[in-house]
Symmetry: C2
Subunit: 345 residues, 2 copies
Amino acid sequence: MGATVCINGTTKARKGRPVPVTIRDVAKVSGVHVSTVSRTFSAPHLVNPATRARVLEYAEQLGYRPNRAARALITGRTHNIGLIVADIANPFFPPLIKAAESHARGRDYHVFVADTNEDPGVEEELVLALAKQVDGILLCSPRMSNTQIEKLSRDVPLVVVNRPVPGLPAVVMDVAQGARLAIEHLTSLGHRHIALLGGPRGSWNNREIRRSATLYTRAAGSELTVLGPNLPTEDSGIAQAEAITQTGATAVLCYNDLMAVGLIDGLERLGVSVPDQISVVGVDDTSLSRRTRPTLTTVATPTAAAGRAAVDMLLQHGDDRRTNALVTLQTELIIRNSSGPARRQ
Amino acid sequence: MGATVCINGTTKARKGRPVPVTIRDVAKVSGVHVSTVSRTFSAPHLVNPATRARVLEYAEQLGYRPNRAARALITGRTHNIGLIVADIANPFFPPLIKAAESHARGRDYHVFVADTNEDPGVEEELVLALAKQVDGILLCSPRMSNTQIEKLSRDVPLVVVNRPVPGLPAVVMDVAQGARLAIEHLTSLGHRHIALLGGPRGSWNNREIRRSATLYTRAAGSELTVLGPNLPTEDSGIAQAEAITQTGATAVLCYNDLMAVGLIDGLERLGVSVPDQISVVGVDDTSLSRRTRPTLTTVATPTAAAGRAAVDMLLQHGDDRRTNALVTLQTELIIRNSSGPARRQ
DNA sequence: TCAGGTACTACAAACGTTTGCAGTCGAACT
DNA sequence: AGTTCGACTGCAAACGTTTGTAGTACCTGA
């Protein structure tokens, strides 16, 4: 209304420095106490609608934005959450990060993303560094031991993704089911000898996949050869190509898509054709899987849903930790062109 | 030493809730004033080495961690920086994010990552939401107008990546040089008619590439046909494949790798062989470029270096904005298998 | 011996919020 | 008329730090 409002008798739009307009400034110009201004934002039902409208208008006019640090200091809640992943550049993570971030933002939370470079040592360091700064942390595919995670969870609420930890909320993908589907797909195509290209040592997913693959290969009367552990990288897929051919298997289930595309590449270099001579199946259905040639048959894991679910769990039991809530998300098999009938030997 | 230290006469390790050990607790047990404890951490040279050692020991023993919110409140510096990108899942960004994050962490800064979903509208919203929470923001490939960015920069220090904005610090890649190298590469292979598959409308990189490509095609006595604007996605690469063939060009320079791999895919579907019939060159050298078949000839942009440089710029002129510092990073041409000699028509 | 300095430490006021408590005022009920 | 209540608002004490100022004790040099 009319003239723009000035603070402290002087306009605050000083050169360079941004305008540090506080709750007090708003209180002054709207002629109420700071507590009323505060309540206008944090407990609107406690203030007279007319007053509130006035305060809001002045606040808007001054460009007031609540200072989250101050709010955090007194409430103890920062409205931030931490997200720790092994490697942002691993195509498995971006969809998860993206989903978590936008889901959190919808609930007025911001997300710190940190990358451990696949180093278990820096995981702990990061958790501690973030602890005071966030209301909770999403630990994705951690390589730490259960007891170590347990201990950290006393400092800050944790939700673990891609691995169950007793006593902690976690969200996992049903990769065992996925592996089952993959194995059944392969055996139904006539494969009697299947190889499993295993992932990293500490990985729960890896154990699950192996357990399930072993079980269902046997159930189909086929043979399973397990290779590993391996780093879950494209390079290690390439490196293991020769070993794979030597197993005599006609089909391979890989720990993840990255290794699968590496393996396909490696096999091609050896003159082995996929899927004509060897079928290859991945896990995760990352953006890669549609880009390879042949396109990759793979177990789709709902990474975006996992990100959202993890955020929800974190925000729900904000305080009452020590839950044994475990969310398991379903997986499905996406059949593309890297798997085909077993060749006649 | 000996017995573990208790606070307030009672051990603070209450059930569930984490231990909120403050500077005051440390002061109490070590028999000094809080200010001494504070200085032990923030200005060590002002406190007696013996005292400091004692304080540090007790702090360690109690598991004291400074509360960054409180520190931020009084110093006005949060030791956080914001990083806004268009799409985390776009393979261009993860290396940049990763580099920025680890570089920042090395300087005791944490990074908020936010994703605009390619929506210019949410860019502004995100900047404002983050403003009070960070000491500055890295704006990557923004789609906003210069004036809009200018305005936001009055609220919070900004560093722009992938686009120069007058009066603001920015780091850009010399894509003009990259485009020149690509065009010269193609013309030297005998291509007399080249197509440019353009990117999104607001993109500075897009304009640079076009400008440079036009210039150097002409300089080589060749013809350039420009298509666009297009969304910088794989799908739009696929969609434009037919249009490309209709230009009659024997080589294509694409706005980025994503479009290039899409284009290769699209051309293949049309029965056009790359590079035998049409050569394709991308920009960015993302992780994709080694995975395509054929592998992609592309202009490598130093994304990780850009991330680090941006962080440095932000941390340097923390206060004195209004700099016209512009860092330009060199690009280079990586020749792989998607480009070859012009076919004999 | 004393002025001046150095090295360290304590005091207390901030920073921008939230929130329990108390107060005011008018309306409704007895 | 007096009581009770509800709706609203002001007061002031926190939250965990940092930092300018002031103080103490000791040392140095004249």
